[in-house]
């Protein structure tokens, strides 16, 4: 198993390098002179030249990447133009805020999806199953920002149960923090419910049709025990992959949700940086998002090895 894990980690290195290079290239997608775009039409040639030098745009492409990458290895993501502060520092300040939202959304989606998925798999073709299918089809068609605004309208404008946005840290005001969290969490997590639910239902149905489940039933085990102990354990393994992929959707979704609910995290920083063409900040956040996503999927692959003996004992 160690070998599998080491292989998996080693495999990620070239991909991570390529991801870094692609992220670096974002600024070169800017049509014309990025320094000119950043400073606007009124800037003097001197200031433009100074910024070009600061961004390293006056050097050959590969040299630029080399410098950028070396700095990256030292934890230096450059200077944010909009905030006048190091990008890494700005990210660090906002990371816990976004992590809270993301983790809460993921947990919320699983808490809803797992029981519903199991129920719908074990009660196929009942009205609950039908309803679950319709709802999951609907939720995938509703964009996060529409759901967020509907929730805002219902629970912050009409019934003033929740604040219309904002954030207090858990340390300052635990109750206030939770109150601020609910609407963004539901908005962000609901999109993931349908995907998780369908996967749980499908893999549960598949497992329930397997021979060992029939054996368990035939030897007279209680149906509940068959479902929850024998079947569920194996049904949850493929769900892990989907959860790993959901991390990507949640990172992207956080950009939108944080903007709607004025949640002062990385997503909001990303959107304001993109709007104000703060490319160093955009590069830093895009890179961090990709690494977080890769890390989540690496974690999923590694935990596979723990959960699935077929991988653990595979000599290959």
């Amino acid at each position: 198993m160690t070998r599998y894990i080491v292989q998996r980690v080693l495999f990620i290195i070239p991909v991570a390098l390529l991801v870094s290079f692609m992220t670096f290239m974002i600024i070169h997608l800017v049509p014309g002179d990025p320094a000119r775009v950043l400073l606007g039409e009124e800037a003097t040639p001197q200031t433009v030249a100074a910024l070009r030098q600061q961004l390293g745009l006056d050097k050959p492409l590969l040299v630029q990447f080399g410098i950028w990458f070396l700095q990256l290895l030292h934890g230096n993501l450059g200077q944010s133009i909009q905030l006048q502060q190091p990008v890494w520092q700005a990210i660090q300040q906002r990371l816990p805020v976004t992590a809270e939202l993301g983790v809460a959304a993921l947990i919320y989606s699983l808490v809803i999806a797992v029981p519903l998925g199991i129920y719908s798999a074990t009660h196929r073709d009942t009205w609950v199953d039908w309803l679950v299918n319709v709802l999951s089809l609907l939720t995938t068609a509703i964009p996060g920002f529409v759901l967020g605004l509907v929730l805002l309208f219902l629970f912050a404008v009409t019934v003033r149960a929740f604040p219309p946005g904002g954030y207090v840290s858990f340390a300052d005001d635990p109750a206030g923090n939770i109150r601020d969290l609910i609407l963004p969490m539901v908005t962000l997590g609901t999109g993931a419910i349908a995907v998780n639910l369908r996967q749980i239902r499908a893999s549960m149905i598949e497992v329930l049709n397997q021979d060992y489940v029939r054996t368990a039933r035939a030897k007279g085990l209680e149906e509940r025990r068959v479902q929850y102990v024998h079947a569920l354990r194996n049904a949850l393994i493929p769900v892990l992959t989907i959860v790993g992929l959901q991390v990507g959707a949640i990172i992207g979704g956080a950009f939108v949700v944080e903007s709607i609910f004025l949640w002062p995290g990385i997503g909001q920083l990303a959107v304001t940086s993109m709007l104000s063409k703060d490319y160093p900040a955009v590069q830093g956040i895009v890179l961090l998002s990709a690494f977080a996503y890769m890390g989540a999927n690496l974690l999923v692959d590694v935990s596979y090895a723990f959960l699935d003996p077929r991988i653990r004992f595979d000599k290959k």
């Binding site: 974002i26 995938t140 996503y293």
Partner: protein, 309 residues
């Protein structure tokens, strides 16, 4: 669906004759009865017609503003109300259909074309070509797709074609992976060996022998993908990184409505419904299409199961 498939030539001919005897409209009615999901295609068709004939259908010009009737709810004069500048919401939604459908379609066409080509090349040439393409595909898939699309769109600058490019790039790896897997299977078939031995040229092998045989799953993926591209496009415009005002576009219309959420909640209804309807009917149609075109896939993986995409 428990009918045993009969592939004998005799049965095939019989079916052909039978099919020819039944007029097309009866077959259409039959198909709709068999699979009510096809009705979603009608909804979609309505949007396509609205997009094409927007100038004739719209009750008002989409940019004409009348401050006197600003921020109104639905009425007989303005079926879906008016926005903050007194522009007719229904007319703007009808014109917005043009942007959403065309960006979605163009993005999928570009992404699908490039991705399919890359996937086929990887499967056909193998060796370092395959390794290189697979590596690029893996790297592209390492980015959360929306994040990458936003960053590319922000760098390229907001315009309809740039958004389509950004949305196409994030979809390239999905098609590349799918096409590569399918093409690998096809390449292992005997008729491919026969074609190679017969001295068929590479481009002919790719376009005539491989492509037609991997086309169905790609088409199914494309149908579903269009809905995701439309969703992403509306997100981009909602955040201000997509289509710029005053162009009527659903996402930016909702973004405008956000400001008036408490005073005029009606403003959001129209564009929100339009997005949900289009995406929903594309997803349902994609499911129905998959069942028809891809009989091998009995597992019934549906739109929502497709990870991220």
């Amino acid at each position: 669906m428990a009918i045993q498939a009969d592939y004998s030539e005799e049965s095939h001919l019989k079916q052909m004759k039978l099919a020819a005897a039944v007029p097309w409209y009866v077959r259409v009615v039959r198909a709709f009865r068999q699979d009510p999901r096809l009705w979603s295609g009608v909804v979609l068709l309505a949007f396509i017609v609205a997009a094409i004939f927007a100038p004739f259908i719209s009750p008002y010009p989409p940019l004409a503003y009348h401050p006197a009737v600003a921020e109104q709810g639905p009425s007989l004069a303005h079926l879906l109300g008016t926005d903050a500048l007194g522009r007719d919401q229904l007319s703007r939604i009808i014109y917005g259909t043009r942007i959403s459908l065309s960006v979605g379609l163009v993005a999928i066409l570009m992404g699908g074309l490039v991705g399919t080509l890359l996937g086929m090349l990887a499967a056909y040439f193998q060796g370092w070509v395959d390794q290189l393409i697979t590596m690029v595909v893996d790297a592209l898939l390492s980015f959360p797709s929306l994040v990458l699309a936003l960053a590319i769109a922000a760098a390229l600058g907001a315009s309809v074609i740039n958004i389509a490019i950004a949305l196409a790039i994030v979809r390239v790896p999905i098609y590349a992976r799918l096409a590569r897997g399918q093409a690998l299977q096809v390449s292992a078939q005997e008729y491919m060996t026969a074609a190679v031995v017969a001295g068929t040229r590479t481009h002919r092998l790719l376009l005539r022998h491989i492509l037609p045989n991997i086309f169905s799953p790609l088409l199914v993926q494309a149908t579903i993908s269009v809905s995701f591209a439309i969703l992403d496009e509306s997100v981009l415009s909602f955040l201000g990184l997509g289509v710029q005002p005053p162009t009527p576009e659903w996402g930016s219309m909702i973004s405008d409505a956000q400001t008036y959420l408490s005073s005029d909640p009606w403003m959001m209804l129209g564009p929100a419904l339009a997005i949900v309807l289009v995406v929903l009917s594309l997803n349902i149609l994609g499911d129905a299409l998959r069942d028809r075109l891809d009989p091998r896939d009995r597992a019934r993986v549906t739109a929502v199961d497709a990870p991220q995409e």
